[in-house]
Symmetry: C2
Subunit: 201 residues, 2 copies
């Protein structure tokens, strides 16, 4: 086991636990025990118990940013969604596939990311969305409309993701194919996926 391999091992183990049981029951000591080291070894890689969650959150935001950019870049595909639908779906599907990360990312009591740290991937992800909305609405749109519409898109995706993961919706939608269709139906019903309606207040 090379140096800082333990860090990766513990991180993966923590993510798996969070995905299955949630963050609260995660035990620092049990992680160490599972990795076969003493109960203090993780402290050389994470300052705190919260340090683990901070690492998971940062990793998760980086992955989310990748997923969103990938969704926007893949629009050349033949049977692709329109960009807005692709963006929304990428968010929700990322959350479903990486719920171990997602459950931590928006829990500031666990992983507090300070906004003063500009290159944070979470901010970049939101900027990606804002840029898309701005170019989608065209130059005539006011900054308030852009901001409100970007927030609406983020809210829709975020709400659907959390309701599917932790809420009472999950067991109502079946396998992956059905799930993909349901996500797109919800996005379509939201009125945020195309520009068929006026946007100025």
């Amino acid at each position: 086991m090379t140096a800082s391999d333990l860090r990766r091992t513990i991180l993966d183990s923590a993510v798996a636990h969070v995905a299955e049981h949630g963050p609260d029951s995660l035990s620092f000591r049990r992680l160490a025990q599972a990795a076969g080291v003493s109960h203090q070894a993780p402290y050389h890689h994470f300052s705190d118990r919260r340090g683990i969650f901070a690492a998971i959150g940062a990793e998760g935001f980086a992955m989310l940013l990748d997923a969103m950019r990938g969704a926007l870049d893949a629009d050349a595909d033949a049977d692709a969604d329109d960009p807005a639908t692709a963006l929304l779906a990428s968010y929700v599907e990322f959350a479903l596939e990486h719920r171990g990360h997602f459950r931590v990312m928006f829990r500031p009591d666990l992983c507090s990311y300070d906004e003063s740290d500009p290159p944070h991937s979470g901010g970049q992800a939101f900027d990606t969305l804002v840029d898309f909305v701005r170019s989608d609405l065209g130059p005539g749109a006011s900054i308030d409309d852009v901001r409100a519409r970007a927030t609406a898109m983020w809210s829709l995706a975020h709400g659907l993701a959390t309701l599917l993961i932790d809420g009472p919706l999950e067991h109502r939608i079946g396998p992956v194919a059905e799930r993909r269709r349901f996500i797109r139906a919800v996005a379509h019903q939201s009125g945020l996926t195309d520009l068929g309606r006026p946007v100025t207040a």
Copy 2:
């Protein structure tokens, strides 16, 4: 102190703590100490630590149901929102005003409500939303459209609420008046507040 007054005291204290510091740092023993009783007294009113969260969650869903029904009933007012906007806003404003409850309600690891218990207020709240969407879309709408649109409304409200409470949005919107306007601007940007766009797939 009359009987089961301790229960109310502990519940209020717990809600206040959750609203300020989140659920995880809530200490059963500290609640008892703050109430001036022994560390075992709460066990006579709550089976578990999770029992407290279950009580908070159930209370919260009942309050949410009240708020949503109130929003739909108040449409006779002069300067009122349209019903869909009122419904969305009532959800978000409930979450902001009662974040101590809201933070617990959608955490099944803390407060698991089994769907087999039909009179649960959470199910009734969702049913209220579905009924509204059905009557809003009219009899021609398919059940899939109704389900998808209701989910979209719930997702938008839920996502905006959680992003405002726990996410990076809160400090960007100012006092209550501004906040009210922002919530409505976000709702308006979606196509969920009026019927100006086609709904069939």
